[in-house]
Symmetry: D2
Subunit: 460 residues, 4 copies
Amino acid sequence: LLSPFHYNRPVTLTLTFADEPIAAALDDASLLAAMARFEAALALASARAGVLPIEDAQVIVRVSDVAHFDAAALARQARNAGTLAIPFVKALTAQVAASSPSAARWVHFGATSQDTIDTALVLCVQPAGRRLLELVARLGDSAAKLTREYAATPMAARTLLQPAAPISFGWKAAVWLSLVADAYAPFAASLEGMRVLQLGGPVGTLAAFGDKAEAVTRLLAEELRLRAVPIAWHGARGGIARLGVEAAILVGAAAKIARDVALLMQAEVAEAFEPGGAGRGGSSSLPHKRNPALSLLALEAAQRAPQLAATLLAELAPEHERGLAQWQSQFFTLRDLLGACGSGLAAMAEALEGLRVDPVAMLANLERTQGLVFSEALANRLSRTLGKPRAHTLVESLCAKAVRETRHLREVFMDNEEARGAVPDDERARLFDYAAQLGDAPRAVARVLACWEAVKAARS
Amino acid sequence: LLSPFHYNRPVTLTLTFADEPIAAALDDASLLAAMARFEAALALASARAGVLPIEDAQVIVRVSDVAHFDAAALARQARNAGTLAIPFVKALTAQVAASSPSAARWVHFGATSQDTIDTALVLCVQPAGRRLLELVARLGDSAAKLTREYAATPMAARTLLQPAAPISFGWKAAVWLSLVADAYAPFAASLEGMRVLQLGGPVGTLAAFGDKAEAVTRLLAEELRLRAVPIAWHGARGGIARLGVEAAILVGAAAKIARDVALLMQAEVAEAFEPGGAGRGGSSSLPHKRNPALSLLALEAAQRAPQLAATLLAELAPEHERGLAQWQSQFFTLRDLLGACGSGLAAMAEALEGLRVDPVAMLANLERTQGLVFSEALANRLSRTLGKPRAHTLVESLCAKAVRETRHLREVFMDNEEARGAVPDDERARLFDYAAQLGDAPRAVARVLACWEAVKAARS
Amino acid sequence: LLSPFHYNRPVTLTLTFADEPIAAALDDASLLAAMARFEAALALASARAGVLPIEDAQVIVRVSDVAHFDAAALARQARNAGTLAIPFVKALTAQVAASSPSAARWVHFGATSQDTIDTALVLCVQPAGRRLLELVARLGDSAAKLTREYAATPMAARTLLQPAAPISFGWKAAVWLSLVADAYAPFAASLEGMRVLQLGGPVGTLAAFGDKAEAVTRLLAEELRLRAVPIAWHGARGGIARLGVEAAILVGAAAKIARDVALLMQAEVAEAFEPGGAGRGGSSSLPHKRNPALSLLALEAAQRAPQLAATLLAELAPEHERGLAQWQSQFFTLRDLLGACGSGLAAMAEALEGLRVDPVAMLANLERTQGLVFSEALANRLSRTLGKPRAHTLVESLCAKAVRETRHLREVFMDNEEARGAVPDDERARLFDYAAQLGDAPRAVARVLACWEAVKAARS
Amino acid sequence: LLSPFHYNRPVTLTLTFADEPIAAALDDASLLAAMARFEAALALASARAGVLPIEDAQVIVRVSDVAHFDAAALARQARNAGTLAIPFVKALTAQVAASSPSAARWVHFGATSQDTIDTALVLCVQPAGRRLLELVARLGDSAAKLTREYAATPMAARTLLQPAAPISFGWKAAVWLSLVADAYAPFAASLEGMRVLQLGGPVGTLAAFGDKAEAVTRLLAEELRLRAVPIAWHGARGGIARLGVEAAILVGAAAKIARDVALLMQAEVAEAFEPGGAGRGGSSSLPHKRNPALSLLALEAAQRAPQLAATLLAELAPEHERGLAQWQSQFFTLRDLLGACGSGLAAMAEALEGLRVDPVAMLANLERTQGLVFSEALANRLSRTLGKPRAHTLVESLCAKAVRETRHLREVFMDNEEARGAVPDDERARLFDYAAQLGDAPRAVARVLACWEAVKAARS
């Protein structure tokens, strides 16, 4: 793909963290190739509709396939022109003219710069979006596997960064899975929503095609496997914004998982670990370090994605028929955003696929709370007998005592007559049993897994 | 609605520009009322599921209906507690206890602060969202009316803020309508997506309810007319973000229309005017001024909406089971965002409903271009005979001559032998006829109107 | 202050988390009072400059001091007018007219709505900003105290959320202090930069005052203790943006400290704790919980501040002499932003002033790394003898062995001939001594403390 | 500069719109060269401080000068490592080792990845920032020239996009100049604020250097012409954020000017025009079009800059000693932001230097208002006699009559007995004289020009 294009001012590292296939779908070469593909298909569709001679169209198609572009020169001229499309069309026309001056008359006929750049954006975004959906599926499947595998593995829930009550690690993974399951269809819909041809000509009315406008539009859409829409979307940028935003929501899902993994991987917690492996997570100066390098990628993506999405949301009100400063750079904003999305999703799919889970550490951390994670259960049980205010006060004092004396809450409870007396003998053990305190978790796990199966069924 | 609540530090003007019904749905009183409604319904559902005595639940319901809250005191205590829900539950419990110490044991039983605040958010957002959909429908209908009425009224398209080629004002309004039509269903879906109960208890597992958790959830959802979801969404904030973002896209649609109206209303353009009326658009110092005061509201909303949406997108990765600094203030962010949305939509619905259109001025501005708006048509026609490069160069020189000599392009064309000779006699008039240069516009208008009818049919 | 104003649609809770004095400086009552103060001072200055009779000015001053406003009605009318200032001036004029129709002629004379609203913004922001500086000073002083007190208390540094090498807690606090020290002067400068009068009249030229314009401006600035600037800043919003951004940077400083405190306060780390106290950090359902409720406030502020600042940055390009949709709502954006700033700073000042530090836990966590925190020191020392590649590889294997066998790195090192042989006897102990591995930390601590003293000296 | 580096996945077009010198300062090659320069200077400074043999340092310097890097391979490995610095140091070390295994031991000695990447950021940003200051100076000088030249050229002020009262074009340019003058020093200060060495080693304490840490730091800072700071800023990102924000404020200044120029250039207004010239502002399909292609660039930059700045503001709270997901990509965010800044400033400097101003059109547009621009002057004059309420009402009716009857306000005024009678004969002409209605404008112009001279004097 890359060979036909020449560059001399590369900015490779911008996509440093991007997933390879997405970077490939969105890099400069792919953008220029998509622009060329649009011009070729436009000529072909126009010829089929009777607008221009089929021989000329064939020349345009042939030259577009092998055209060479000097990206640095295009960038320079784009600065003068205000859009990449103007120097691009000029360069393509010159190459067509070298083969056939007659065909060169018809390059870009009836179209406007924005038709070229918007449709090229669409053509690049489709494979990138499909790759993102694959990554989402991988991420979901790996979360589902953890959900099933650890459904009965007790660990401490943490709220506001403090241990709260017992959950299972499978249930925690089910929350992760729910994020992925909820985001899949909306992203897929926003991607399908952007599988649309842009063709309006200079002001959106396709005036150059006269009564052949509908035919050209239909044939071009078919040729590019895009949908035709009721009216040109030169000034209607909601679809791009929605796609960008759904990508930012996917980044958020990856980052939520990454946040949890990085926190669990802290040496003092040590309940779960990203997979290591060649060059992964090492330090340039600390030989022993094992950094959460995959979570890092997802969290890094999440630092940029909301603002990149906001840029697209801030570009929804272009002036009149075609605006002054919006469509001209949206491809680049979307490239950064989808690149970040691929980076985060690929990283967390890999992280969950190879996640090393330590149930022993999970249990040990639970135990280290000295039974305080049972305080809610105890308070609820005592409430039934003593009323909530008294129960809450009593449990608070029991907890304080347990902390002060470094004893388990169960012992402190058993020592306290009022408390012990409020709970029948046969209920006491259950109050301090992790498995008995998971509440609705097993059913929730089953519901989320079923939901994920439904998402997967719907997409195939 | 307001009467039961007391305040002493009002910040009324924050919602200065918000549409009244939306402000009412989202103001402090409504939030506190929704929180009380959640606690009442929770008690009732729990009683029906056998968790607590029905008599106690009835007391909670009765007291919640008439409870009084000191918002300023709650705000002060919320700062200590890190969430509004903690002092709220305390205040409600105290009022229930005054009626029945027994019932007071059960207030908020099994729930966590976030259950209260998230479900209250949902309950407030639903009527606000329905009001937004009404405004969208009004905006769409008014755009549809303009589309039909002015489908054959020629005006100049403007691209990059410069006159380009002829369009009709109806076609321009059809673009506005397409924005509204495209945004309706996604917003409605995001609103339905947020018609969900939040009930998880302290860590999300509903442990306090034991095997009655599913029943309580189902009964509570029914009572509040919300959907139950597979798993608590304490850490899954995508739905809130998506709703906020769709609101920002609606703001964008209103702002796009506002941008165009404000530009058309410039004294030097003077093609369309917002309705005036009592106190609308006047100036504090310039008696003659008629400001685009409605467009102002939509554009003001659009300055804030993208960033408010970005805040929600930046809050997608809370820590572990319940995060440290996201859900605590999302209601306030969403309130500002939906308030802005209502402000913009209501303003532009009113603007389009009363829009004064001046077809004579539109035509006059077209004529002032001295036929330059026909340059593309001419260039395209000449391309067929002379090839694009020659045609483009020739037309550029004709345009320059027309400008230099302040003559109409048609005359300059007729004076130029090469140009005139390239177009048969019977085609020449058509080249300079506005109606003949609308291309696909009439069909596009029909397609967009049909699309809007389909949107309206789907919602009823 | 509040008494003269009436309200009936309060939105109190918007500033739920704001520091009280800042909320007071920026609430609706303060805004309306500042607008009244502007109008009174304008009348007085104009009278002194000979523009209007001093008796009329005195009436305006007197009435402005005791004027009543119905904020809800103003909000409704502001929606019609596009700015709060128009209905405000109308309401004030009516009250002046009730005292003196003659004086009423001169209310707001020569000014425009934006003069009133911008100068009122300035008048409200100044005390809010001074309060923020007090909070910054408190935060800095408390960080300085910790810096001094714990300069020799060893703890593990953590990079990428993993234990790295030893530092002292005082050094860590010095980094916190450096954030505060670096942000103080820029914020103070941005506040002083906004101590500016806005007075331009309808288009900025003060035409109504003729050759008395400079005198009116000078006298008004003196009266309000503001600076006069070379030209009206109706269209120049950089100063507001800069103030907002510096507030966001202060929020960032508070949030950085909060992030660290919340992480240190995790039960599994347990090295430092926010102060508890009445109602602080408790849970609505978990009696034992002690949440990082102060850090929560700073982190919550940091979720909103960057986007609020971005809104101000997005409003830097208003149209022509006075824009359509920027100045109209900037007070409200700045109110939210400064409110967030006060919330975060006050919280972290309180947190650091009462911070409970556990040096024993810090040491224990260091020890739990089994000497791995010395791996860099060891690798560096071995590099000198064995070369970096070999040293790095060797240390990696020693670390792996220590982990595998749950032994201290020192022992593993002593068992390994190559490693041990590469370090002379008398240097070995030093390699595993926390105090010996603090590098430049003691000097850095001294430098930062000196820097903070210099900041404090400069401000007094 | 570029020759030593090899690439195979270029993303050239990301900086499509950036000013060439800034793109050159910030492109991949410059970043890698700056990283190499840091490593070379670190070795040299360390040797001078006695940490390593000077011969080894000299090898490192020599190899760094000619080192080759495969950017695509680095990008791939950076994804694994979580930072570009790790594979970079590895690649450099390998090249040094090929010359001297002994020297290779010392590459990057004592430093951490973030030292390399942060200092390289600083080294790249300094020349980029100086270029930006040159562009600001050019923009200011061109605005100053317009200010002087057109100080007495009357035109209509426009507020809320409607004609208001007369101003001069020179006064309008003085407002532009004030933006530039106000932003110069803060940007320069933020740039100087970032002329700082980053050197802390793995955790910030420079432990590897022992008591030579201060010496190494001082010598390295001297070598790189940077300042040493009291403590490592690994976790203190305020300086980067402030620089980014000041760049966004500069973008705002350029965009404000661009907004006005693009609006003045509308065909229906036609008061000022960007310079044309080769390939500048043409259309791909409309031969007659002259687009505001320079203003486009500034406005495009302003769509992205606030959000890029917000990303930096959102990255102020990294975890502990070195964070998980902030510093790793800030160079790329800053590159986009400074690139946008250079694009906008260079465009508007060029636009103002070649601006074609049409005083005749300005006067004609004033005249087209039929004297309504004098309504404030008239109302103010009548207020003095009739009181403001009566005056305002009367002038409103005179304006309405003028509009209705398409007559000049002066004539309508002269026909109205009440109005005419309220103004002495000798004052009437002055009321309708543009030059007499400029108020304080001439003095404001002088003040702003003096202010700009002071800015220029301060910087030299």
